[in-house]
Symmetry: C2
């Protein structure tokens, strides 16, 4: 199959919103009057952002999800995207699954593929995504990193740390003591299975959830839209919560205090760990749980700030977007980042974010 | 050096046109009222689009040039671009030179870098470029592949085939009989050098020119803008002239006749070959010259159509944009592509375009 057949078969679809889609030198977008165009770009490299044996369907999802997450953090409504793809070979089953995962998420957000490029090369997926933000009366409604004010509450959406837990299990950095019984559950005599079936099935669900957080993250687009006019600043958590918070602090020229023990309650696996009292799960220390929450990475949740006067509005945004949010700290006048425990004691900040070159 | 230092040092510059540039989750573009946004995306892979030992300055130029060429083919005015970069390592000298080559071309076209991504990985450069096209009275001035009409003249800009000649010399597919004397010229006794100095210095210039066509192509942005309202269709020649013409024919549902012997006059090296009577240059057959012109690739010239009534307007566009254009054929009602020689005799069409997966 040639390059143009490949595009026609797996990626070309009728455009509904764009003035012109795939098939010319350029795509053409007709911007909505009174809107700004929000643009973001993420490149995913095999062995760096995903394993070589990843399910191509989830890879198609994730490649777009991490880009939509940037639109969410900006409060932009998804519109369209371009896809550049370097492929080591033409594998039709791979392309079929990849494009299905990609378009399933794209359709859910009304975000259409308008152009791109395909080439031979080491597997590399580069998506550039476009969204719109209203600018009523010349004032952009875009959520920026630069708007946090001293006294603002600090929130994080959904769950953090679970993606990293799944990654560490996959890399063998964390071992599941319950893995043996979990394995047994499938093949064991029914009396053995019965003895442990409840916690094992729950463990399996928790691990599946963590794995799904790693492979098919949920871009918080609806929350981002609902936070327009409510949040003072926002960023998506991709490299680790505290590292990404650092970008807000730098751009807003403020400091922050983060309650690490409140943050770990956002780890879905942690709730299970507490319920199972460590019996059927990895027995992590508080410090390890804090590291997962504060420096996990690959979460694609929204970290945002809003004044205390907007607490009801934040809860309303969470409700209308059906996205849990948790208040985990506040913005301070004093520069720097302070991590405290549940008792308010200062903790050493050892939570380093991911850096491709550090 | 970490990821964010790298971006700050080599790629972050104040934005002049964009509402928001590098440093947030999204960049923000404020579209000019009454304009469409033209979007294109090209990915360059080491070993596929460029040699590992390429000068990073010319690579920076070329990565943007091939994208600007798509805007040119659309008649769009360059506005901004995003850059995603996978780097095997942080090499500061490489980054310095790459960014210099990139920004030198960007500045020449008033096209600013507004965002992107950096990651570790096999060297890969993905640029998405944005331009604007006026839509007066709801009619887009974009040049499309789909507008060619039977009876239209077919033109190509600048020079074609020279980039491929340089590539074939580099790959050892073509050998220079004059290479030995050219080498001698630098170190030979002055009497030997004097005997051959005139043609050798010209040969060297021609080869330098061909090499420059390969490594630092000129996007025909000014010509594209000047052809708005004049050309009925356009495409940029990247995979080979006839292959790219095929896209116009397919989208416009027309056929074409191309004068191969007129097309080879667009090869700059051919003019030198004719003057030197083959004595100081590669002695190629007519068929080889035709292949260079019609299936060379990597030319980034504009191939476009315009009605005969617009011949003066095409010449005026060529003059104002200071870009030579040559009429090399015409659009026919009869489907298919006919290649003819100077005498109008039909030639077999063996001119296959580049395809990454064919």
């Amino acid at each position: 199959m040639g390059e143009f057949d490949l595009i026609a078969r797996y990626f070309k679809r009728p455009t509904r919103q764009a003035a012109l889609g795939i098939g010319d030198d350029c795509a053409l977008l007709q911007p909505t009057p009174g809107c700004q165009l929000a643009v973001s770009c993420d490149m995913l490299v095999q062995g760096r952002h995903f394993f070589a044996d990843v399910d191509p369907r989830t890879l198609g999802h994730k490649a777009l999800a991490v880009n939509l997450s940037d639109l969410a953090a900006c409060g932009a409504k998804p519109l369209a995207f371009t896809l550049a793809l370097a492929l080591p070979e033409v594998n039709e089953a791979w392309l079929e699954a990849f494009s299905q995962g990609l378009f399933a998420l794209a359709d859910r957000h009304g975000c259409e593929l308008i152009g791109g490029d395909t080439t031979a090369g080491p597997l590399n997926i580069c998506i550039t995504v476009f969204g719109e933000v209203p600018v009523p009366g010349g004032r952009s409604q875009a959520l920026l990193r630069s708007g946090a004010k001293a006294g603002d509450d600090l929130y994080v959406s959904g769950t953090v740390g679970d993606a990293r837990l799944a990654l560490d299990v996959r890399l063998g950095k964390l071992c599941l003591p319950a893995e043996a019984p979990a394995m047994m559950a499938a093949s064991a005599p029914s009396n053995t299975a019965a003895a442990t079936s409840a916690p094992i099935s729950e463990l399996s669900q928790v691990l599946d959830f963590a794995h799904a957080r790693l492979e098919t993250p949920t871009p918080r687009v609806a929350l981002g839209l609902a936070l327009r006019g409510v949040a003072t600043s926002a960023i998506d958590v991709s490299d680790g919560l505290l590292g990404d918070l650092g970008h807000i602090l730098e751009r807003s020229r403020v400091g922050a205090s983060v309650d690490a023990d409140e943050a770990i309650k956002s780890i879905a696996s942690y709730a299970y760990f507490k319920r199972s009292k460590g019996q059927y799960f990895i027995n992590l220390s508080s410090e390890q749980w804090r590291t997962l929450a504060l420096a996990g990475g690959d979460d694609y949740e929204l970290l945002f700030t809003a004044p205390p006067a907007q607490r009801d509005a934040v809860q309303a945004a969470a409700l209308t977007s059906q996205t849990p949010v948790r208040r985990i700290g506040q913005i301070d006048t004093e520069p720097g980042l302070r991590v405290v425990d549940a008792q308010g004691h200062l903790l050493p900040n050892r939570y380093k974010s991911f850096d491709h070159f550090a």
